[in-house]
């Protein structure tokens, strides 16, 4: 979507980090911690990617879907908005919003194919019903700007647009959707943070280029630190912990 980010709902709805990781009181009653909350969102982001890759949906649509899902949980509880239904529904909605429609039937087919687990089994009517609830939860705020858009431009401009850098930064941007960064920071800063990490990793000195940009490098470095922290902790996010978190959700307080 063209048009100006600074006048968009995306910009207006950006949140402080403290606002994003607030566990809904209903979930807290079930013993969900901030860590559990984060874990479930991460797990659901992975679920969306996996599902989308099977249906062969573009990365951008995945990014939009994950953003929708994360937006929903800034307002709604996991208890009332079952993540295993919300996630595919967000994908379904994102496909429409990004003009690459996938029929509900196909989506449901792959959901069943991917997970034999009862808890992931939903029918078309469940998706359609949840779609309305998701739209309401999003307050019909569907426009998402992604860090991908400015990526090629920045790489070109900084003069490090070789294939390996492109691949690395693109992958880094993909991984930012496992966090809530897209809800918190303007997308181009996320792009810059990914380029920053990649440049340090590949030992390409583009400090002068960064200095010439009129952006607050502290924010960029902070985002980069968050991404690196995420990688650091990534191996701690085990299946068991995800299960434990979901089990808490299933218990009645």
């Amino acid at each position: 979507m063209a048009s100006n980010f600074w006048t968009s709902t995306h910009y207006k709805e950006l949140k402080d980090p403290e606002e994003v990781n607030v566990v809904h009181p209903l979930d807290a009653q079930r013993g969900i911690s901030v860590e559990d909350f984060r874990l479930i969102k991460l797990h659901m982001s992975n679920y969306i990617s996996k599902l989308a890759q099977h249906i062969k949906i573009r990365q951008r649509v995945i990014a939009t879907a994950v953003t929708y899902m994360r937006r929903v949980y800034t307002r709604k509880s996991l208890t009332e908005y079952e993540p295993r239904l919300v996630a595919p529904t967000c994908l379904y909605l994102a496909c429409k919003a990004e003009e690459s429609v996938v029929h509900a039937k196909l989506l449901v087919f792959y959901m069943k194919k991917l997970y034999a687990d009862e808890k992931f089994r939903y029918e078309i009517k469940d998706i359609l019903e949840m779609e309305m609830k998701v739209l309401e939860a999003l307050n019909f705020y569907l426009v998402v700007f992604h860090p991908y858009r400015s990526l090629p431009e920045f790489l070109q401009d900084s003069g490090i647009n070789d294939t390996s850098m492109t691949h690395l930064t693109w992958g880094l941007v993909n991984d930012t959707y496992r966090m809530d960064l897209i809800l918190i920071h303007p997308p181009f800063l996320i792009t810059l943070a990914c380029i920053y990490i990649a440049s340090v990793h590949k030992e390409k000195d583009i400090r002068t280029w960064f200095e010439e940009l009129s952006v607050d490098m502290n924010i960029v470095k902070n985002i980069a630190m968050e991404i690196l922290d995420f990688y650091e902790n990534h191996r701690l996010f085990t299946e068991e912990r995800v299960h434990a978190a979901f089990n808490k959700l299933a218990t009645n307080p």
């Binding site: 979507m1 063209a2 048009s3 006048t7 968009s8 709902t9 379904y92 909605l93 429409k96 919003a97 003009e99 429609v101 029929h103 509900a104 998706i127 359609l128 019903e129 779609e131 309305m132 739209l135 309401e136 307050n139 019909f140 705020y141 569907l142 426009v143």
Partner: protein, 473 residues
Amino acid sequence: MAKEIKTGEIVALKKIRMDNEREGFPITAIREIKILKKLHHENVIHLKEIVTSPGRDRDDQGKPDNNKYKGGIYMVFEYMDHDLTGLADRPGLRFTVPQIKCYMKQLLTGLHYCHVNQVLHRDIKGSNLLIDNEGNLKLADFGLARSFSHDHTGNLTNRVITLWYRPPELLLGATKYGPAIDMWSVGCIFAELLNGKPILPGKTESEQLNKIYELCGSPDENNWPGVSKMPWYGQMKSSRPLKRRVREIYRHFDRHALELLEKMLVLDPAQRISAKDALDAEYFWTDPLPCDPKSLPTYESSHEFQTKKKRQQMRHNEEAAKKQKLQHPPQQHSRLPPQQHGVGQSHAAPHWPAGPNHPMNNNAPPPQIPAGGPGGHYYGKPRGGAPGQNRYPPSGNQPGGYNNQSRGGYSSGSYPPQGRGAPYAAGPRGPSGGYGVGPPNYSQGGGQYGGSGGSGRGQNPMGGARNQQYGWQ
């Protein structure tokens, strides 16, 4: 028309129909919402918010439905008093030159903004151009609009734009197109404003194309390189070569107006003028200059459907007057547009409460938000209806529209069934009702319906005893 009084503010509602949707929330509505949320311009309608009506909504059959959201989602817009068609339809009303320039300039400014933001409107026509009482014109109804990319790579549907305003490339089956399609519609509207009536009122796609050929000449590889490769060129080409006659037919137009119109009504989309270039046209920079919107006269609220409604009421009033044998001579009003209607039309729109004593003003109590019936209409355009009877030809019907019946638009189904056939009084600009009223003189600037008391002006042209009020605002 849907009105809601919320914190004293009047807004317009557009209902998003969820019936017959197998794929959940309609993608057309998603497009419209996304597009409207990203467009912020004084000449583009402002989407205030989206509301869902709480609780269960009655559906058309009155039976409860499993999906509690069915029929209960509305887009809330700023309220606009008029649409261009409604305004132009006001009997006897003639726009002044500065007024036409003012509307055209705003239309082009709004459209240029859309095009810069890579949005095609795809349904530019008079009833989608809303005008408020401060003379501001805004583009509305983005139900068929789409984002486009500049390389025109995507395949888009050619079943868009109301037939009379549909450009030749769509009629010839193009699926790759750009902003030029909207500019054709603008040209049609421009000519309509100058001409006083629609210029290309085709009934079918082939008739439409023939009308275009008769006006603009038949396309060939000289005036439109590549035309012979258009999908439907073979079956839709002109039987004999025709000459371009725009200049001849509209020779009475002002020189600069004609010059601009010539550039808009160009067959080849690649050579058609862009909104930006049109704004630079001599027409807008020569005397008389476009007027300030604020200086325009304000009119009683008029939408296309309301002018229709008024005609019906007038007819009732007239009948009542005849019964009473109150045959006063018609009064000439210098400022007020007389209420006219075609004679002898069969009006069959029982859903308008038009009793003989029904007041003429439009201050009927506004329907509440969750109203299931006519309240769900967006700017109240009449939907559906038998072809030929309707004032407007069916709009381009896009697959997967809100409601696939009868029109690509919204909610034709939410009229009560008997209302479906509500004819737009055929021939709205036809012979006047025989009241012998001349066209009112809308003098530029001072047109606020005067300032003196309303006693003399509120009179019914038929001399009926009713206390009629023209609700100048």
